[in-house]
Symmetry: C2
Subunit: 391 residues, 2 copies
């Protein structure tokens, strides 16, 4: 019975991640025969979770394998609490962002109550705008800090100054949709999303670096998110890279990767003041460096040097198949690729780096949001027929 439920979930997961797939393709991917696919699909059709249609462009020859599509009826709410903005989205089964709302964070304050109130307002407006007969089956949230697994407690979020704030529970209560809110660290979720449908598909050993004022990391080891003893693994931003004269870090230490490569370091090195939009200011420096602004070019080279040291260390430690640069680090890496490559060549062991590729995030600014959406879909995918929303 458990096995059957997990097969239903696996099939639904395939069409959720890859979009419409023929029965034949599903049989191949799942390693089962077509009669099993037929039976599983029939149950999911009966529950309204998928539909079956002839493939488009079918010719008269032979009997075409029907295409299984995720139903447009089911969606999740996905929230993203980044340092400089709040985002909410309605994301459909299949991983499509159907609707989104956002607010710059700096205008609305940073305490738990204010953030939750604003997220609720964004979420309610999404629900109100949803087509009739659609159903919210889950809620996921990405947060820029260290999250306790299980209850979505923010243990530590230095950029917003949060310590032990019951974010997941408070957001669920205030939304009042009868659904829990699953919360994850933004870079952990970005790593999962890039692995499911981005620059890390098919790569089980993957490092995702996320720039969002600070620097976060999500690491997959053997296809599984590195949680560690209590779920707080991959605090890449607080790896000490400059112990001798490091810049002070929000965490209280100095010389952390985040302190040397984050937004504040880049702007300071370029002689620019921090502005309301971190992402915009970082992109401007990266762009100006490429187009020949000397101060911007020096700043990017300096930050790229430290980023390269951090990446070299991660390659030595994790022997990853791919390192993905996400968030603001996409822009930094694009501009500073030579410095990063030089540091890797100098400090990463040849055997450790011989197969490691460096890539830009394919999901760009949506990586963390799509990761949050997948958290929201997790219960449905684990057990498609008994999710509360279907009862």
């Amino acid at each position: 019975m458990r096995r059957h439920r997990s097969s239903l979930g696996a099939l639904l997961h395939h069409v959720h991640v890859s979009g419409p797939l023929s029965r034949a393709a599903l049989a191949t991917r799942m390693g089962v025969n077509r009669s099993t696919i037929l039976a599983l699909t029939a149950e999911l059709v009966a529950a309204g979770l998928v539909s079956e249609q002839p493939p488009s462009g079918t010719t008269g020859a032979g009997r075409p394998s029907l295409v299984v599509r995720p139903s447009p009826r089911f969606f999740v709410l996905a929230f993203d609490v980044a340092v400089d903005r709040l985002t909410a989205a309605r994301v459909g089964l299949g991983g499509t962002i159907l609707d989104r709302r956002s607010a710059p964070r700096s205008r609305i304050g940073v305490d738990l109550e204010t953030v939750v109130r604003k997220l609720v307002s964004l979420g309610r407006s999404l629900i109100d705008a949803a087509p009739p007969a659609t159903v919210c089956v889950g809620i996921g949230a990405s947060y820029c800090g260290m999250i306790r697994p299980g209850d979505g407690m923010v243990r530590y979020g230095p950029e917003l100054g949060w310590v032990d704030q019951a974010f997941g529970a408070e957001l669920a209560k205030a939304l009042d949709l009868g659904l829990p809110v699953a919360v994850g660290n933004e870079a952990h979720l970005g790593a999962m999303a890039e692995h499911e449908r981005g620059a890390g598909v098919g790569v089980p050993d993957l490092i995702y670096l996320h720039g969002d004022v600070g620097v976060g990391g999500g690491i997959l080891v053997g296809g599984k998110l590195l949680g560690g003893d209590a779920g707080y693994g991959a605090e890449v931003g607080h790896m000490l890279v400059n112990p001798v004269d490091g810049r002070p870090c929000l965490c209280g230490s100095q010389g952390c990767l985040e302190a040397e490569t984050g937004e504040y370091a880049l702007l300071a090195a370029a002689g620019r003041a921090p502005g309301p939009s971190g992402a915009g200011a970082v992109r401007a420096v990266a762009r100006d460096a490429v187009t020949g602004d000397p101060a911007a070019a020096r700043a990017v080279a300096e930050i790229g040097d430290w980023l390269g040291i951090g990446v070299a260390n991660l390659i030595n430690l994790f022997n990853p198949g791919v390192v993905i640069f996400g968030g603001m680090l996409r822009d930094v890496y694009e501009a500073a690729a030579p410095q990063v490559a030089a540091r890797i060549a100098r400090h990463a062991m040849p055997v450790s780096r011989e197969r490691a590729r460096l890539r830009l995030s394919a999901l760009a600014d949506d990586a963390t949001l799509l990761g949050a959406a997948d958290l929201g879909f997790a219960a449905l995918l684990a057990d498609p027929l008994t999710t509360p929303a279907l009862r």
Copy 2:
């Protein structure tokens, strides 16, 4: 059938790791009923792999649960190629070192052919001294370098200057016992051994640091060895900790954890010349630091500072349950614990370090050798009834 074989292997693994266990204890550990244990044990008894005996000190009351013991008939050869010595041992089912031979490495040269010849001589003398009717069921080897999984190729061993040497294949051929030689990185094997029967039992997220002239690492994530994309994970010794004025490292970089905390750094900081026995010289500095020699105390404090930075980084990255200091790092950590603790307090995130314990290796100098022995036993434990030696 596969399921049954893996249950037989699981039972044998329990008595291999824990020693004699009652049927009742086995039933509890394996989560199966006693009639299943009875059936599995009967098959293993028939194959001569275990015996059943009444427990010692049985009173008359009730029917005692028979105790299942690993048979003394089966052993593996375990080899340990460390930087300054070669060791070979006969290790019995149950993990007991029954006999051992060793040779200082510096007297015999470092090329593949010489090392293999010496290991074969040590191994043959162990086989010759083995009691009649005992059987060698596997061969495992620990090597101080980066090992390709599958064929035991040494990709890189900076201390011995090896690059792409077919160590596993050559040792198997020269031993001519009709058995393959399974080779692993010394710190990877130390980590596994400490997890199975040492300071990391029951801790699925574990970091083992091994000092052997250089510094190696073995990391368990969720109970599994971190291999990474191609098996070369956890090159902890080449994490850059001192990018500004780091000591040169054998790998060609500078400021690596190994360059700042290894044997040569400690001896140089203490103003002592490297001698033939690295372990002895390191122990002498650590001992002299504790008993008040000022130069030794300064050296230990300096090295402990860098070691603490490395450990703080690892705690941030892995959120481990335990960090274990093995090999020469046992002595260094014992003498430099205050410096390590201070660096962790300063650089590791409070949430990341709140549950992390620091421990000395429980298996001491035998950690890597016992890890190699377990590699040798792996085939037997995976499928106890069809191991070649039993046919």
